[in-house]
């Protein structure tokens, strides 16, 4: 006679911690969502032009290149790395694209060239970080100078402007045109190519990071690289792949930016690396590694992009906008800590 199975477990092992309302409200993505709603509401009240579909569509193209790179940067920061050379890769890729365009290649080849240059740069970064075992922040400060330096050496004070029309159309026209359905509130908004790519990539990154084994492995590396290695996770291989990915997306960003602007100089995208890191950190990815979500980065991109757009609609200069975004970055991270401290103290 077999012993009957116990009807009730003495200890229940939960899949996740029980949900509480207070904890939900303090979750990072919820804070960002509230910020996003506030941003839209305030801007819509202040300026009648804010909620215009065409204006919004144009606004998205101003931050989409950065946003695409921010996705790769998020994964890098998640595994305790960083890539400060992304903006330099944009310039280098745009330059090579410019020369390829002068040689008479069409748009698809030009995009492939941009991504290819980015991959090469990413392989170089990844090699130095994972094979030579150097800290990524130092390596990418060096390669940032190196890549932009190469651009300056080759280009000098010249500008490249001879991009073919087919290539420029991809950056300057709407990829999906405005479609009315007859019903006033039901329509397909115009979408620039760069924003469409961002949306698709964000979905892919979100699924890979949060729903696949590889994603869990990235969290494991970020939480404890040594333990991750002992669990059989190919830590250095994944980090290498992330640097290549970051390079590839920077190359893509360079192609999109060149197509949008129609010209490039060696100072193209100067200082963007810090903007992109800001997006990622505001998105709740911990610089200490192991914490973060693609949804958070997505919301942070929209908050920063719409704040910038809204303020520029009101003729506020870019550097004043950066005061707001810089303060926002610190405040969003500092305020929960202050509350935490008060709660523990009191």
């Amino acid at each position: 006679m077999s012993t009957p199975l116990p009807t009730e477990e003495r200890y229940a092992v939960l899949d996740r911690a029980p949900r509480r309302l207070g904890a939900t409200l303090l979750r990072w993505d919820v804070i960002l969502l509230i910020l996003l709603v506030l941003t839209v509401a305030v801007n819509a009240i202040v300026s009648p032009y804010f909620l215009d579909v065409y204006n919004l569509a144009d606004a998205t193209s101003n931050f989409s290149e950065k946003a695409i790179i921010a996705l790769a940067m998020a994964l890098l920061i998640l595994v305790r790395d960083i890539d400060l050379s992304v903006a330099a890769i944009i310039a280098l890729a745009a330059m090579v694209i410019g020369y390829a365009a002068e040689a008479g290649f069409g748009a698809p080849v030009l995009f492939a060239v941009g991504i290819g240059v980015g991959i090469l740069c990413g392989v170089f970064n990844g090699f130095l970080v994972t094979c030579v075992r150097l800290p990524s922040i130092v390596v990418t400060i060096g390669t940032m100078s190196l890549f932009r330096g190469l651009t300056q050496v080759i280009l000098g004070d010249q500008a490249l402007t001879h991009y073919p029309q087919g290539f420029l159309n991809l950056g300057q026209n709407y990829f999906i045109p405005f479609v009315k359905t007859g019903i006033r509130w039901l329509f397909i908004p115009p979408v620039p190519l760069s924003f469409l790519i961002f949306l698709v990539l964000a979905a892919i990154f979100g699924i890979v990071l949060h729903k696949t084994a590889v994603g869990r492995q990235l969290f494991a590396i970020g939480s404890n690289p040594v333990a991750a290695r002992f669990s059989g996770i190919p830590v250095d291989r994944l980090r290498f792949i992330l640097f290549v990915l970051s390079g590839a997306l920077s190359g893509l960003g360079g192609a999109l930016l060149a197509a949008r602007l129609g010209s490039m100089r060696s100072n193209m995208a100067f200082g963007w690396e810090l903007d992109i890191v800001t997006m990622v950190i505001l998105g709740g990815v911990s610089i200490a590694g192991g914490v973060g979500s693609i949804l958070g980065v997505f919301l942070a991109v929209l908050v920063l992009g719409l704040v910038t757009f809204g303020m520029s609609l009101n003729n506020i200069p870019g550097q004043v906008v950066s005061v707001y975004t810089g303060a926002l970055l610190i405040a969003v991270i500092a305020i929960p800590r202050i509350f935490e401290r008060l709660r523990r103290g009191g």
Partner: protein
């Protein structure tokens, strides 16, 4: 003695001396005192900024806001000179230093008290400080004609054959050396960065050391802000844009470990000198200045690779592949 010969500062100094000699053979004008004096004057700001940044990096932090702090403090000093021309020069310089100190203390408080990662804090304050210039000035700039005469003349003064910025850099360097090598608080930076837990057991206050590091970094940025603005005769929001990464590069070349706890005053000075030489040697050698950035980049990478080789401890041989590699390595 052999330890001295093997130290990276010594190797770097030899490389630099050889470089200067080679350039001197090719272009004798480069090693004339006038040219060297110009180069040192031009690099004096970088010398001081690299030392200040080193103190922050020693505590395992990083201060990305130094260039923005330099621009804002220099701008405030220029405003004092513009609106209160009667104020003694010392007070104008002090305005820059104090402004820098306060901005640095803000960084320090956010890092040390709230425990926010330094890269996050200084990335935020970098944007805020630079934007403040626009908010204060409404987009205007202070031009040379609006600054006081003594305000602008001071960095060009020559005392005993050496310009004032070089004198200031010498004094600041000696102060840093005495502070970091001979005082208890100075050694505390190394302790906190080398092993925070051990430092805690020794009774060293990590928060206080961090706060101090960012305050020092801020005050030095403020001083350099005055020198920069007075020397180039213009103050606006874009000055020294991106300079924070040059300062960090100088530290890295000088052998300051980004992991904290490792770095010396001579090392940081030599790292800054290296970048200074690259910048001034190119025009002398008739190479276009566009090479400057590529060369700095290559040098930074070479320096990290060399420093990492020198620092490398044998890996723990736990995994079979590592054991095999370990055997293969002599």
């Amino acid at each position: 003695m052999s330890a001295l010969l093997k130290s990276r500062e010594f190797i770097l100094a030899v490389v630099l001396a050889a470089g200067i000699a080679l350039i001197g053979i090719y272009q004798p004008v480069f090693v004339e005192w006038d040219n060297l004096s110009d180069m040192l004057t031009e690099t004096s700001v970088l010398f001081m900024m690299a030392l200040a940044q080193m103190v922050v990096i020693l505590t395992r932090g990083i201060d990305l806001s130094v260039a923005a702090n330099l621009a804002l403090s220099g701008f405030l000093a220029a405003l004092v000179s513009q609106y209160y021309p009667g104020v003694p020069l010392v007070l104008m310089i002090l305005a820059g230093v104090l402004s820098g100190l306060v901005l640095g203390m803000v960084n320090g408080a956010l890092v040390a008290v709230l425990g926010i990662p330094s890269i996050v804090v200084t990335l935020g304050t970098l944007a805020v400080y630079r934007g403040m210039i626009i908010i204060i000035a409404g987009g205007d700039q202070v031009n040379a004609s609006e600054m006081g005469v003594s305000f602008q003349a001071f960095p060009k003064d020559v005392f005993l054959g050496v310009t004032t910025p070089i004198w200031i850099a010498i004094v600041v360097s000696i102060l840093f050396w005495v502070f970091l090598s001979l005082t208890r608080t100075g050694r505390g930076f190394y302790a906190v960065g080398g092993n925070p837990i051990a430092a805690r057991y020794c009774g060293i206050d990590q928060g206080w050391q961090e706060f101090l590091a960012y305050s020092i970094s801020g005050a030095v940025s403020g001083l350099c802000g005055y020198l920069w603005v007075a020397r180039y005769g213009v103050a606006y929001s874009e000055i020294a844009n991106g300079y924070e990464l040059t300062v960090i590069a100088a530290c890295v070349i000088g052998g300051v470990s980004i992991g904290g706890g490792v770095g010396t005053v001579p090392g940081a000075l030599l790292g800054a000198l290296f970048l200074g030489i690259v910048n001034t040697a190119l025009p002398v050698l008739q190479i276009t200045p566009f090479w400057q950035m590529a060369i700095s980049g290559a040098v930074i990478l070479a320096a990290v690779v060399i420093n990492a080789r020198a620092e490398r401890r044998p890996d723990k041989l736990i995994l079979p592949e590592a054991r095999r590699l370990g055997r293969a390595r002599p």
